[in-house]
């Protein structure tokens, strides 16, 4: 309904407009009939004032305009006759400019202008220039110069696509369409004109034509850019859409320029391109810049571009930052691809860019870099095989950056990241990037945090593509790139590091370590040494993340050597497990010196086990020693001690390389530590775990039943003590579950055939537990109860099963 109401209003306004127009037209006709110039001007101006409205929709406005346009034709005839009667056209030209309002003034000016041009009293180009200059200062009339387009065609034989816009009320699109028609008409005329060589015949004519189209282009582009600022903000999106639909109209100017016969390379170079670029740069509008750059590249021939590369490129850094220069340039470069030898092109481009940058010392660094980025993109696309080109581009970039302070500019940094990412992305293979000698030198110019970002990008690329880095040299080079992650940079200590970010970074480094691999043990050792060298610089916080992967990587190597034992033995082979273990020992030592003793302890144990597998008793012993020392000196937390002691026991149990003496020493130590734990239950559990140290099933040598029993008895004693302590301290019974656990150990060794473990002892223990449980009914212990119950059920089950084991159980009564 609102719309209908609006429509009615519009009808009303249109009717009013037409009525006003006809009223004044009537008086104008009377004046024309009586040859009264003064009145004719007065009434025609009043008539045209009806067009000043901004209330009408384009459609309605067009209707009004067409009526006024018809009247103007009559006026034009009158002016023509007037000049025959002796009134000079220049006087007329001045007279119409007396009109107070701009819109009637311009309509009248164009009408007289048409007569003026035809009179040939002044050069057409001067008149057109004068008219054009006036056009842009009215922003809400759509049609003023549509007739001019035709005039100029007829008179000068050049095309002009005069764009007159209507913007005050969001655009009178009929106006646009009207001009579009004229534009296409204009183009046809232009084609005819140029084909007949009308323009080309006369040197001055070409210049006039070019000059006119250029000026037209400038004004048109200004209007086009301005459109976005007109009207309410909420319709911005709509306007942008409309704008991009209209862009061809602007672009047509460039097309026309390229069609004019007389525009040769020289003129293009001297006049056309600089003027067009000036406008493109100055309009500061990304949509326009992107489109127009594209247009320039598309409409003019390759040869021109080749000859003017420098000019074209020098405009690029001046464009708005949002304009994707790379796309623009790569379009340009793609155009060259089929038509020229590639090598020639690269050197030419590279030369041009270099010259542009050298010639503009005050060009912002970001501009220079963005040029290099586009050159690099081009190179990667056209010469993916020419790594030296890529390196050359990076090299020139380094040259440009050298001597400059570290880059603070955010945009420049972004551009460098783009520059560095391009080859990594292109080759999907860091190997290639590592061959670029200038790569790290470019990276040096980044600030720390960006360096890190870049490093993460590189690592991600490696991980994603599952690239194996197979030589120490490459590893060296890679670490040079990843410096930012590997070690602290000067002056960054104060920086607040986000804990999680840091973890993530270091985790990725850790992951990266696993990507270094070579089948050749010697090379692999080299790699490991290199990695070690770098990560040891990382400082306490990093070591915890980076050492473990290194250790495991090395252990992997050890195991692979183990596999080739037969062939690889020999004094002259430098890569022996022994040697590796030495390195490992030192590495872990570094870790233990920072407060990561628990981690170090685990790693020692891992190494010990590996040494065990390699039959290197002294090495394994040394590792254990280190582990024990750590335990004694560094592991203070009781919980950590419990965990550590269990780890030690577990590892030690599996060791088979030790001689009796060594083993005794170690087991003795372990048992000793176990008994010295802080909490009784912990002591108890550790001690009964120690029992396994003396009874290893698959090792004949180690079946010392007596010491097993000793351990278990000791555990029992501790459990008892724990019980009493609990009673004394809390007045309630302690943990019966400890007894049940010990019972289970008894049963285990009983089944394994340890002669020291007798059924009587088991029987006794069961009874003890039963008594304990009965004596304390106060507290509910469902876990301990059911544990005990299942243990008993197991005994039952074994009894019923019969066989050798069943027989042994016979004497146990449940």
């Amino acid at each position: 309904m609102m719309l209908d109401a609006g429509g009615e209003d519009e009808e009303k306004w249109l009717a009013e407009g037409i009525a006003g127009l006809q009223h004044n037209a009537f008086y104008m006709h009377r004046a024309l009939d009586s040859n009264n110039l003064r009145d004719a001007l007065k009434y025609s101006a009043q008539m045209l004032s009806e067009l000043r409205t901004s209330r009408l929709s384009p459609h309605k406005y067009y209707e009004l305009y067409m009526r006024a346009f018809d009247e103007l034709r009559k006026l034009e005839m009158f002016f023509k006759e007037e000049t025959k009667r002796g009134c000079t056209v220049i006087d007329l030209y001045e007279l119409v400019q007396h009109a107070g309002n701009i819109l009637p003034r311009l309509y009248l000016l164009c009408t007289v202008g048409s007569v003026y041009i035809k009179s040939k009293e002044a050069p057409a180009k001067d008149i057109l220039k004068d008219l054009c200059r006036n056009v842009s200062w009215v922003f809400n009339i759509p049609f003023v110069v549509s007739s001019l387009g035709v005039i100029s065609l007829k008179s000068v034989g050049i095309s002009c696509l005069i764009l007159v816009r209507s913007m005050k009320d969001g655009g009178n699109w009929c106006g646009w369409l009207g001009n579009l028609e004229h534009a296409s008409v204009g183009k046809r005329h232009c084609m005819i004109a140029t084909q007949k060589g009308m323009v080309a015949r006369d040197g001055d004519g070409v210049i006039d034509a070019v000059e006119f189209v250029l000026q037209n282009f400038t004004e048109m582009n200004k209007l086009w850019v301005r459109m976005q600022h007109q009207g309410p903000v909420r319709e911005k999106e709509k306007r942008e859409k409309e704008r991009s639909e209209l862009r061809d109209l602007v672009g047509k100017n460039l097309h026309v320029l390229s069609q004019i016969d007389g525009v040769d390379l020289d003129m293009y170079k001297e006049t056309v391109l600089p003027r067009v670029l000036e406008q493109v740069v100055n309009c500061k509008d990304d949509l326009a810049q992107h489109y127009l750059m594209d247009c320039i590249i598309q409409v003019f021939p390759d040869e021109y571009h080749l000859q003017t590369l420098e000019t074209l490129l020098s405009a690029c850094p001046q464009l708005q930052p949002t304009v994707d220069i790379m796309t623009v340039l790569s379009q340009l470069m793609e155009r060259f691809c089929p038509s020229f030898f590639k090598w020639k092109l690269f050197s030419k481009l590279s030369h041009a860019i270099g010259k542009v940058i050298d010639s503009q010392p005050d060009m912002p660094i970001v501009g220079a870099i963005s040029l290099y980025v586009s050159l690099l993109t081009f190179t990667l696309r056209v010469h993916p095989d020419r790594l030296d080109y890529v390196d050359q581009v990076l090299g020139s970039c380094v040259k440009k950056l050298s001597g400059k302070p570290r880059i603070e500019d955010n945009k420049a940094t972004k551009q460098i990241v783009a520059l560095l990412s391009a080859p990594v992305e292109k080759y999907n293979d860091i190997d290639t990037a590592l061959k670029l000698s200038n790569y790290p030198r470019v990276m040096d110019h980044l600030d720390h945090s960006t360096k890190k970002v870049m490093a993460v990008v590189i690592i991600q690329s490696i991980m994603k593509n599952n690239t194996h880095i197979s030589t120490a040299d490459k590893v060296e080079a890679l670490f040079e790139l990843l410096k930012g992650l590997i070690k602290d940079m000067d002056g960054t200590q104060d920086e607040e590091l986000d804990e999680e970010d840091f973890k993530e970074e270091q985790n990725s480094v850790a992951g990266l370590v696993h990507m270094f691999y070579n089948d050749d043990p010697e090379e692999m050792l080299q790699i490991i040494c290199t990695v070690r060298k770098h990560i040891l610089l990382g400082g306490p916080k990093r070591l915890a993340f980076t050492v473990p992967p290194l250790i495991f990587s090395a252990l992997k190597l050890v195991r692979s050597l183990q596999g080739h034992d037969g062939e690889a033995v020999g004094e002259d082979v430098p890569t022996t497990p022994k040697k590796i273990f030495q390195i490992l020992n030192q590495t872990i030592e570094a870790l233990s010196s920072v407060p990561s003793s628990e981690l170090a302890l685990r790693l020692y144990l891992q190494c010990a086990e590996a040494a065990n597998d390699c039959d290197l008793e002294p090495v394994a012993y040394e590792f254990f020693t280190q582990a024990f020392i750590l335990y004694e000196e560094e592991v203070a937390d009781s919980k950590a001690q419990v965990t550590a002691i269990h780890l030690i026991i577990g590892t030690l149990q599996r060791m088979n390389v030790f001689g009796v003496e060594n083993r005794d020493t170690l087991t003795h130590k372990a048992t000793g530590y176990s008994a010295k734990l802080l909490k009784k239950p912990d002591q108890c559990r550790a001690v009964y775990a120690c029992s396994h140290l003396f009874w290893v099933d698959d090792q004949d040598g180690i079946k010392d039943g007596e010491r097993v029993l000793l351990c278990l008895k000791r555990a029992l004693r501790i459990a008892n003590a724990a019980q009493q302590m609990a009673n004394a301290a809390r007045g309630s019974a302690g943990p019966v579950s400890l007894f049940v656990e010990i019972l289970n150990k008894y049963l285990y060794f009983f089944e394994k055939g340890n002669p020291q473990i007798t059924s009587a002892a088991i029987q006794g223990l069961i009874e003890l537990i039963v008594t304990e449980m009965q004596s304390d009914n106060s507290t509910a212990r469902p876990a301990a109860d059911s544990f005990f119950a299942s243990t008993l059920r197991y005994v039952q089950f074994q009894k019923q099963k019969g066989g050798a084991v069943g027989e042994r159980y016979e004497h146990i009564k449940v």
């Binding site: 000043r52 001045e94 400019q97 007396h98 107070g100 309002n101 701009i102 819109l103 003034r105 200059r133 006036n134 200062w137 009215v138 922003f139 809400n140 009339i141 913007m167 005050k168 301005r226 600022h229 007109q230």
Partner: protein
């Protein structure tokens, strides 16, 4: 009735003709009744000469005690109506006392008359030049006839004529720079200039250039100032954006301008101003007024 009218009519008809009436240029002036009329045009230091003819009506005789012609330059202030201030007064005696029976002609001449001021017809003041023929009589009132003529004075083009250039604005809202090519314009001149928008944060609807005339009369506490807008010339229709440069080309010939008069005989002065007005969408007006000096350039030069 005719007789009665005749009784009070002056007994003779007095006619003043200029010796070069046919070739002399004429200018239009506004008469007291508001109608325009054409009068001869003189310049300072020209010689004004001609003939006065006195023709008694059908057989009447005119007795007089002398006939004289005066050239008067008068300033008339309207608020002081009736009081003419004569700044120039020249007299030529044409006849000795006697009687006139039939048409009688007298030649007169004021040679190289100094007429320093131009004729002017303003809101509150009028400056005019007249030739006044007086037939003095005894007992009865004198017979007087006026003839007004127009005086204009040319000024040579000024040797120094700087452009007017200025940056004005409202902080963080609107900054413009305007330029008029000269500070002194002749009456048929063209004002060329431009307005450059340095900053536009308000929605400007249109912009126009006004020519204003400021006439001040009297002195001291009795000063009357009257300002008229003689021209409104639209420069721009629509909203400009930053960086826009709007050209000005304003022909002065259509407007009725006079030269700038500064302190004419301590009675009045007339000054001209260019007023640049910007109107925003809420019809607020922003303006900047600049004085320009108008002068009269010798035509055909």
């Amino acid at each position: 009735m005719n007789y009665l009218i005749g009784a009070f009519k002056p007994p003779c008809h007095i006619k003043i003709t200029y010796s070069d009436a046919k070739t002399r240029k004429q200018a239009s002036i506004k008469k007291e009744n508001g109608q325009m009329t054409m009068v001869p045009l003189f310049y300072s230091q020209e010689t004004i000469g001609g003939e006065v003819s006195i023709e008694p009506f059908h057989g009447k005789k005119v007795e007089h005690i002398g006939v004289k012609i005066e050239l008067l330059g008068q300033i008339e202030l309207y608020f002081d109506r009736g009081n003419f201030y004569d700044f120039t007064s020249l007299v030529r005696e044409l006849d000795v006392p006697g009687e006139i029976y039939e048409r009688k002609s007298y030649q007169f001449e004021f040679s190289t008359v100094e007429m320093p001021f131009e004729s002017y017809n303003g809101v509150n003041v009028r400056l005019r030049y007249i030739l006044k023929v007086t037939v003095s009589r005894n007992y009865v009132s004198n017979i007087v006839e006026y003839q007004e003529f127009c005086v204009r004075n040319y000024t040579p083009p000024p040797t120094i004529n700087n452009s007017i250039k200025m940056e004005v604005g409202i902080e963080d809202c609107l900054h413009i720079e305007f330029e008029y090519n000269k500070s002194k314009y002749h009456l048929k001149d063209v004002i060329i200039g431009k307005i450059y928008f340095l900053l536009v944060r308000i929605k400007i609807k249109n912009m126009e250039l006004e020519i204003r005339r400021r006439e001040s009369t009297g002195s001291g506490p009795n000063t009357y100032v009257e300002t008229e807008t003689l021209a409104k010339f639209e420069l721009m229709d629509g909203a400009p954006v930053r960086g826009e440069s709007i050209p000005i080309r304003l022909f002065l010939s259509p407007y009725e301008l006079t030269p700038t008069y500064r302190n004419i005989n301590n009675k009045f002065s007339v000054k001209y101003y260019l007023n640049l007005v910007l109107v925003d969408e809420e019809d607020r007006r922003y303006f900047k007024q600049q004085e320009v000096t108008m002068y009269r350039l010798l035509e055909n030069q």
